[in-house]
Amino acid sequence: MTDKSDDAKEIKVDYTRLRIPFGPVHPALKEPISLRVTVRKEEILDVDIRLGHVHRGIEALAENRNLVQTLYLVERICGICCHSHTTCFTQAVEEIGGIKPSERALYLRTLIFELERIHSHLLILGLVGYDIGFETLFMFCWHVREEVLDLFEEITGNRVHHAMNTIGGVRWDLPPHLIEKVNVSLKKIEKSAKYIYDVFQDKTVEKRLCEVGVLSYNEAQELCIVGPTARGSGVSMDVRRDYPYAAYKELKDRFSVVLKYGADTYARTEVRISELFESINLIRTILDELPNGSISMEESVLKLMREIPEGETVSMVEAPRGELLHFVKTDGKEGLRRLKVRTPTLANILGLKPMLIGGEIADIPVTLASIDPCIGCANRITVVDEDQGEVRVIGLEDLRRRGRKR
């Protein structure tokens, strides 16, 4: 043994370290993401994030299409925040073309925007509930969410991809009988949101979420974390307030930016719940102050598109997950020379590393859900002990069970 082991001695193998590939197929999330987690027993030592499973080459496709085709293509970047993407893109195109949409169109854009925020927040609150083993809460949140989807269907004709925006305005108007209907639905949603608020005040939920996935104020600032994730760490940032767009210029004083200083999963959840109420109030204000006028330009969209000159601009909106940025460069011949999209999740995913390190395996699903990632569908987790050459497969259910035991 001693003769042979001169080489072997040099390699120090730490048998207590395990590497767990997490993903890319996962039922709690909607899109594929892959995490490689190194653990010692239950403690997480390191996290490696791999992206690109849903890379569809949208930016390259956009370069071969005209502006109106691209408008519907950018909507398909994400099914949850599709209105944010189209708003961001149309704003950029309108800025290049010098087109000013009417006040009513801007207000309607904002209305759909806030409805989208409610639906997105309800969705992720439900998923947080599911990941801590509170399935009733998950079902309840998604039931309330249907109310918002009904409104979308009434106003725009589709539950998910609304296709509300067009160059120079919006495509659908809000007749008086729908205003009535939105008000009635808002009452129901507010009642349910209050109930959800009460449920999250519960001691069990609080204990499960507090001190999990901590991201300090300094880390959040260094990593440029955006949206509710940053606001949960006390970073005061909101594109709606800082760089107002659409109708937010007029509505600037009518909503407040929710800030929490807990910096953990619970704080991020709290921010989202409070934003539900802010959005509901904002929609009421919009409905009260909805200006009259036309909703789109007199010229057809195709004519407007042909008149867009060569130019470039950056446009920003506050999507439900945070700051969304589009860089648009037109070629003056109906098309695009370059489109660059920076989604909030890409910014927030960097925060996963400080959040997870030092935590436990059981906290992975809920921490991941708390940043509201727009990626991922990983179904099994393979525990690979590389040193022993042993592969153990842990189902997500098993992982969740561990999470619930806590």
């Binding site: 197929v25 909607k30 849903v54 890379h55 519907y72 039931h143 189902g395």
Partner: protein, 139 residues
């Protein structure tokens, strides 16, 4: 009809695979499972592992990175299995057709039994798709 065949019709277990979809279809699949549409009352359960599933629901236009995973997941589903392509992307590639990164549509890669068109299809359409698939294959 044997007991196993009957139980397959009575409670088809679903596995959902996202191959690069935009989330729209995935949301509608989950919406079909939640109280408003509630396919669980028909015996459908969304399971966490393809090895437990009878029905494979595939969304998205199959990106290059997901291609080997699609084949692997398909092979893991035990026979007899049904594949339902949910949404226009999985059925035809739809807006992403022509992209360098897309290997789909799905029927180029694995055999598909039922196509549910729509961008995204409504939960009712998804339920209808599952029912048609189960009837055709197991009935």
């Amino acid at each position: 009809m044997s007991v196993t065949a009957r139980s397959r019709i009575k409670s088809p277990w679903l596995f959902h695979l996202n191959t690069g979809s935009c989330n729209g279809c995935d949301l509608e699949i989950v919406a079909a499972l939640t109280p408003r549409y509630d396919v669980e009352r028909l015996g459908c359960v969304l399971v966490g592992s393809p090895r437990h599933a009878d029905v494979l629901l595939v969304t998205g236009p199959v990106t290059r990175q997901m291609l080997p995973r699609v084949i692997r997941v398909y092979e893991q589903v035990p026979e007899p299995k049904v594949v339902v392509a949910i949404g226009s992307c999985a059925s035809s590639g739809s807006p992403f057709l022509g992209s360098q990164m897309i290997e789909g549509p799905l029927d180029k890669i694995i055999p598909v039994d039922v196509y549910v068109a729509g961008c995204p299809p409504r939960p009712e359409a998804i339920v209808m798709g599952i029912v048609t698939a189960v009837k055709r294959k197991f009935g």
